[in-house]
Each structure stands twice: as C-alpha cells, then as structure tokens.
C-alpha cells in the first residue's frame, strides 16, 4: 500500500508517528520487565529491602506519561485536521471541479457498491474518477452498515442507513486502486470489493457520457419492448 492522495499522505505520516509511540511503549514496558526479571531473578535468600515509592516519584512518572500523551494528542489533532481537509483540484484535474469537489454518491448495498455520477450516469463495482481532482463521495446505504475502504486513496468510512457520510480524496496518479468492504454485512461480505479507476479528465468525461448513453439506450430498449407487449 502506498498513499496516493493528500489525505492518505497525512494518515501515513501519522501512522509512522503512532508506530514510534507504540514501539516506545512496548520497549519501555517489556524491556523494563525483562531487565528486572533477569537482574533480580537470580537473587537468593536474603530478605530484600522493603522499598516503597513516595508521592514524588509517582507524580514525576505520571507527569512524564502525561507529557507523552499530550504530545501524541497534539500531533494526532494536527495530522487528523490535515487528513480530513478537502484537497484542491490541481492543474491536471477536471477544471469543472476547480471551485467545488466533484460529488459522487456511493451507495452500499448487500453486497455491491453503486456509484452515481453528477450527470445521472451510474456504475456498479467500479468507480471512475479524474486524476488530480478533488472528489467527495457521499456514502449512503440501502440496507445494512457497509464500510467503504480504499486505503490508498482515503481513510475508511461507514455507510449507515439513514445517514450520509463523506469521503474526500484527490488521486495523484492514474491507475487502478482496490478496496474492500470492511464491516460484516452478511453472507457475501468477504467478496464485496470495489475498484477505483483514476483516469485523465478527458477519459473521465468520455466515460460518464458513454455510460449515460448506454444506460439511456438500454432503458429505451426495455421501454420499447414493454410497449410492444414483449417481456424484456
């Protein structure tokens, strides 16, 4: 996995900070424990001094721990704030979205994602977006809770029935990014995957137009069949 959006860049940085913090915790506790067990494990016989610690050392240790926690808190708030900012659309992106992000509706349903584009075209499973363009996904669900998760492009978010959740990202490179639903949603949860295809703005516009035309033709064909009294 590699970050391909400004938001996931920030998440990746904070992940490393978190990893360092966690490593400090593990090394301090496990290392300290192993050290005292080795150092004093061989003592025999003598009754040890009945040492206890006073309030002073507890306050100092507590203050050090508090400072550690406060540092992590500040860093987390800084990077989380940056990670959830709506990115700007760049020069290579879709110019129509330069002022407001391209809004696409992502609907979770058992066990497929449906994407509705601004021009009323829609697609299942595969989302096509222009490169270097701010995209805002409105996540909704028609049945149970689903989690939309394409880790290279954005942090994961739940689609909860009755609520709308938001994901923003701006892909920095053309290509295909894979994702998988991340909340148990029933029998076919594991194969409920998705794919984001990042293309040039021209190809994006061609795709949504072609998709719209295809959908329209298919609907017309069905309507025509019904009007002729045939079963579609």
């Amino acid at each position: 996995m590699a970050p391909h959006s400004p938001g996931t860049d920030q998440i990746d940085t904070l992940l490393w900070i978190g990893f360092v913090a966690a490593a400090i915790v593990v090394v301090a506790v496990v290392g300290g424990l192993l050290y005292v067990l080795r150092r004093y494990g061989a003592e025999r016989g003598a009754e040890p001094r009945q040492l206890t610690g006073g309030r002073g050392i507890q306050l100092r240790v507590g203050a050090a721990l508090g400072a550690f926690a406060a540092l992590i808190l500040v860093l987390s708030i800084v990077y989380t704030g940056k990670a959830q900012e709506t990115p700007a659309t760049g020069a290579a992106g879709l110019q129509a979205s330069s002022s407001a992000p391209l809004k696409i509706m992502a609907t979770g349903q058992q066990w497929l994602w449906r994407y509705d584009y601004p021009n009323e075209a829609f697609s299942y499973y595969k989302l096509v977006v222009p490169v270097d363009t701010a995209v805002e996904l409105d996540l909704v669900s028609t049945d149970v809770v689903h989690t939309w998760d394409v880790p290279d492009l954005a942090g994961k978010r739940d689609a909860v029935p009755g609520k709308t959740n938001h994901v923003v990202f701006s892909a920095d490179e053309e290509g295909t990014y894979f994702g998988q639903a991340a909340t148990l949603s029933g029998q076919a949860y594991a194969p409920m995957r998705t794919e984001v295809e990042v293309v040039s703005p021209q190809r994006y516009e061609a795709f949504v137009e072609a998709q719209k035309k295809d959908i329209q033709e298919a609907q017309d064909r069905v309507v025509g069949l019904i009007e002729n009294g045939e079963t579609p």
Binding site: P48, Q58, V160
Partner: protein, 562 residues
C-alpha cells in the same frame, strides 16, 4: 468438605452431607461454591471458544478456502465473540472476585448470597440459551451484532434472538453478582480492614462491580431495544423510522469498552497480588495503583466512541474519544511502572503465577500500544476494521483474560483445592502459549497494517499479499490452543494429584491465606484484627517474635496481640 488435615485439633466441621455433591453445588449460595461454578464454567467455555477460533483459522489458513461456508463462518464468528466475552472472560473475572474478595476482607460470607447465586445461575442460563441456538440456527450477526444487520429483515431466523437472550441473561447475572460484591465490600470487612488497607485485588473487585453496575444496564437497555425491534415491530434501531442504527453502536460499545477495561483491571489486580509476593517486597505504591485502576475504569469506558471513528459522527466526538484513550496512558503507565518497580530490587522466585503474570503484563502492553495507535483519529481511519484491530484486541484480552486469568488460576488454585498445580506442565504450557500468541497475532497485525486485510471476512483473496501472514497465524492459533489445553489439563489433574498446599501456599500478605485450603463454609473461625495493608505478614512477624521463627501461621490461630 475435605478433611482439614493440617489442623488435627479440630476434626468435625459439620454434619456429613446426605446429598450428592452436585446437588450441594447447585443449591449452595456460599460465595466459594458460586465462584467455583463461575470459574469452572468460564474455563470450559474457554475451551469451546478456542475450538471456534481454530475452525475459523482453519478456514483462513489459505486464500479462498472452502472449508467453512460463509454462513457457518459467520455463525462461528458470532458464537466465538459471545463465548469469549460473555461466557469466558467476564465470568472468569467475576468468579475470582466472588471467590477471593470476601476472603481477602476477612468476611464470613457475602452480604446477599442468594443474589450472587442467582447471578451465577443466570450466567448458566445464558450459556444454555446461546448454545441451544444450535437446535435451530445460531446467530450470524457478528461479534457485535450491529443494527440493522441484526434486524428481522436481514436475519429472520431466531439466532439473533438467542444471542440477545443469552447476552441479556448473562449480563443480568453479572450485575446481580456485582450488587452482592458491592454490598459485601461495603458491609462485611473485618475489624480494622479500612479501605486504605484493602488488598488491590479486592479494590479491583469493587471497581469492576461498580463498573458493571454502570455498563450492565446500558447493555440490557440495548438488548431490550433489539428484542422489541425484532419481535414487536419496534423502531429503536431502524434507520428510516425515527430510530437510528447508531444508537445500538453507542450503547453496545459503552458495554464492550467497559467490559474490556474490566478484564484488564481484573488481570492487573491479580498481578498486583502476585508480583509483590514473588519478589518479597510490598507493592511499590499501593495508592497509585489503586487510583490508576479507578481511572482506567472511568476513562476507558468514556472512550467508547474510539470504536466509531468510521461512523457518521462529528469530528469533535472522535477527538473526545481520543482524549479519553490517550489519557489512559497515565494510569496504565503508572500501574506498569509500579509493578516493574516492585520487582526491581526484590528477591524474585519465578514460580508459575509470576511467569503468567509477566507474560500478561507484556501482552497487555503490546495490545494497548496498538490500541494507542488506533485511538489516533486519522490512524484509526486506516487501521480500524483491519486484522490489526483483531490483533490489538487479542493481545490485550488474551493477555488479560488468558495469561492474567491463568496467573490468577495458578495463584489461587491451592486456596480453592488445597493442592498446587503442577509446575513442570505449567512451564511447558506457558512457553507454548507465549510462542502461540506471538505467532497467531503478530502476522495479523502486519497483514492489517500493511495490506489492509479486513476483519470478520470468511475468506481472503490470493494476490493480496497476506497468504503467508494468515498461514502463520493459523499455525500460531493451534500452538496457543495447545498451550491453553495444557493448563486446563493441568488444573483437572492437579485437583486430585497436585502437591498438597498449606493454608498459606505462597507466603502472601492478604487474608485469604489465613483461611484453610480449601476454606470452610464460614471461612474463618477467628476474625483477624487488621492493623496494616499486609495483615498476614503482621501475623507471621508476631509469631516469629514469640519464638516460633520460620514457622508458618496455623490457620486457626487468632492474631496475637502485637
């Protein structure tokens, strides 16, 4: 009652029972019988949870495996979650509290014994209901059955109802046991047993009981809503009719997060009894440890929304949860610091309880370090719902309930049975479990962090880079299970054939070791007069001063006037 061989001066303690042993146990309201019922039941369900985990790991050993069908996998997953939390970890912790705390405070029994008995039997009823689900269809809704997947529209069979009834009965039982514990710790302390002298494990019992009085009813409310929604056309958890699926998430996470803290507080409380004894030093700072355990219960439960970073809630709520989670660094850090400082400078004897306690500290610290990452909001967006969260939870809870629980089991086994658990098998079990835990959960953490493998999925796909991780995790789960099985076998065998233990098996400081092993129904013939936080040590010293140097106190000896 077994004959008190160590004390030949008193031969007859009661009338020989005319009823079979199982009738005695089933009808007894003695806190020791009820506690043993809870502990034995919990260890039995540990075995069952382990079997379910192994079946799931077998399915996930290789990509796109067809060993279990998706429905069977989801059933195993749901049963595993309910069994591990409601039928293993919580009753184990409460069973030890209920057995040990009245002894530690020098009580002759609990304040409301029938209430505790009813609680334990409600746990048995809950377990029966959950597994009776096999007669029709067990639940498929997952470890935490989120609405609306748990609603009638998506799971129309009665599995979810069985889950709800089982979890509800067990939770109600735990609340009743907690009420008895709160009342007992309030009213039945021996003369001189002030709160400041209460052993840390009894403090843990008090904290956890109060915690259950808060979180238990929250879960019962959530379960009631779920049952009304499913059976009486309620709309509490429906997304489109005036309720909200998020309501279930809030209420259930308050309970599960509180229960998580409860299990850790139980383990740390037991470890705080074990570590001082085996390093022959008092706890480095009792007050700081006790205060930290209180803070863990409060802050930890308030951090429930840490589980909802991906849900549609405002960023401010996520920051609130993060502040509470990160604040936990201080109390957990102080507890770890004081435990290690107690060992430092001591004369350490590495007996089985201390081995398990040390592994519990290490595993809990690894799990909490991972949870620390998950509580950083943006990192949570990346790591939550991946197998890294599975690994974090399992490090902390296997550390707390299994390693910590086994430390408590080895430690109090002599008190409960009069015999010590075999040390050699304990060591084999320990090293196997340690290896198994690392093999089972480190690869899952890596798969979740670097390849984003998602939780609860019945299969994973080839080419996603997680094949090796999952195969190693499966092997590790089997190694861990083998280690756990060794301790369960050790416990069963040692009941009959373990080395006989005296009343004071380890040279500890608290009053449960003043009673016989196993204690008589009334616990103590003579109530000791407590003068410090280490009452049994005072008694030993007083005896030494009287000339009986080196002699262990006899159980029936009243405390000599110092």
């Amino acid at each position: 009652m077994s004959a008190p061989t160590a004390n030949p001066e008193l031969v007859v303690d009661g009338f020989p029972s005319r009823r079979p042993r199982w009738v005695e146990i089933a009808t007894s309201a003695d806190h020791k019988d009820v506690g043993r019922l809870l502990i034995t039941g919990a260890l039995g369900f540990l075995f069952i949870a382990m079997v379910e985990l192994l079946l799931m790991r077998l399915q996930l050993a290789v990509p796109e495996n067809g060993f279990l069908s998706p429905v069977t996998f989801n059933r195993m997953l749901s049963l595993y979650g309910a069994t591990a939390i409601f039928l293993f970890a919580l009753p184990l912790a409460l069973g030890f509290f209920y057995y040990v705390a009245p002894l530690q405070i020098g009580a002759r029994g609990t304040a409301l014994p029938r209430l505790g008995q009813l609680g334990a039997w409600l746990f048995v009823a809950g377990a029966t209901v959950l597994y009776a689900g096999f007669l029709f269809t067990p639940t498929e809704a997952g470890i935490n059955p989120f609405a609306p997947l748990s609603s009638l529209a998506f799971l129309p069979n009665n599995g979810v109802d069985a889950w709800a009834a089982a979890a509800g009965l067990a939770t109600l039982g735990f609340v009743l046991v907690s009420i008895d514990l709160v009342a007992t710790l309030r009213r039945r302390r021996a003369p001189g047993m002030a709160w400041r002298r209460l052993p840390v494990f009894s403090w843990a019992a008090a904290i956890c009981s109060w915690l259950l009085l808060v979180i238990g009813p929250v879960m019962l409310a959530a379960i009631t809503m779920l049952l009304i929604d499913r059976n009486f056309e309620g709309i509490f958890l429906a997304g489109d009719a005036g309720g909200s699926p998020l309501l279930w998430q809030h209420l259930s996470w308050i309970f599960f997060t509180g229960a998580y803290m409860l299990i850790l507080i139980f383990a740390l409380g037991a470890i705080a009894e074990i570590v001082p004894t085996f390093s022959r030093k008092p706890l480095f700072n009792r007050g700081a440890v006790i205060g930290s355990l209180v803070a863990i219960a409060v802050l930890g439960t308030l951090a429930w929304m840490q589980n909802m970073f991906t849900a549609p809630i405002a960023l401010g709520w996520m920051y609130f949860a993060m502040i509470m989670s990160l604040a936990l660094i201080v109390p957990f850090g102080l507890v770890f610091f004081n435990l290690i400082a107690t060992l430092a400078g001591g004369t350490i004897s590495m007996r089985a309880p201390l081995l398990f306690a040390a592994a519990a500290i290490a595993a809990i610290s690894i799990g909490l370090a991972a949870e620390l990452e998950h509580s950083m909001v943006a990192v949570g967006w990346r790591l939550q719902h991946t197998t890294d969260s599975t690994a974090a939870t399992h490090f902390a809870l296997v550390g707390g309930a299994v390693f910590g629980g086994f430390a408590a089991l080895h430690w109090w086994f002599p008190k409960m049975t009069g015999r010590t658990m075999g040390e050699t098998l304990a060591r084999f079990s320990f090293w196997t479990m340690l290896l198994g835990t690392l093999l089972a959960f480190v690869p899952l953490a890596l798969a979740g962090t670097y390849d984003g493998q998602v939780v609860d999925a019945y299969k994973f796909f080839d080419g996603t880079g997680v094949n090796a991780y999952n195969l190693i995790a499966t092997i590790g789960a089997f190694v861990l299970a083998a280690g756990i099985l060794m301790t369960l076998v050790n416990a069963i065998l040692s009941r009959e054939s373990g080395a006989p233990a005296g009343p004071d098996a380890w040279g500890a400081d608290s009053l449960e070791w003043f009673a016989l092993s196993p204690p008589e129904p009334h616990n103590f013939d003579v109530l000791p007069d407590v003068r410090s936080a280490r009452p049994l040590r005072d008694i030993r010293e007083a005896i030494a001063r009287r000339g009986g140097a080196g002699e262990r106190p006899r159980a029936r000896e009243s405390q000599p006037v110092a």
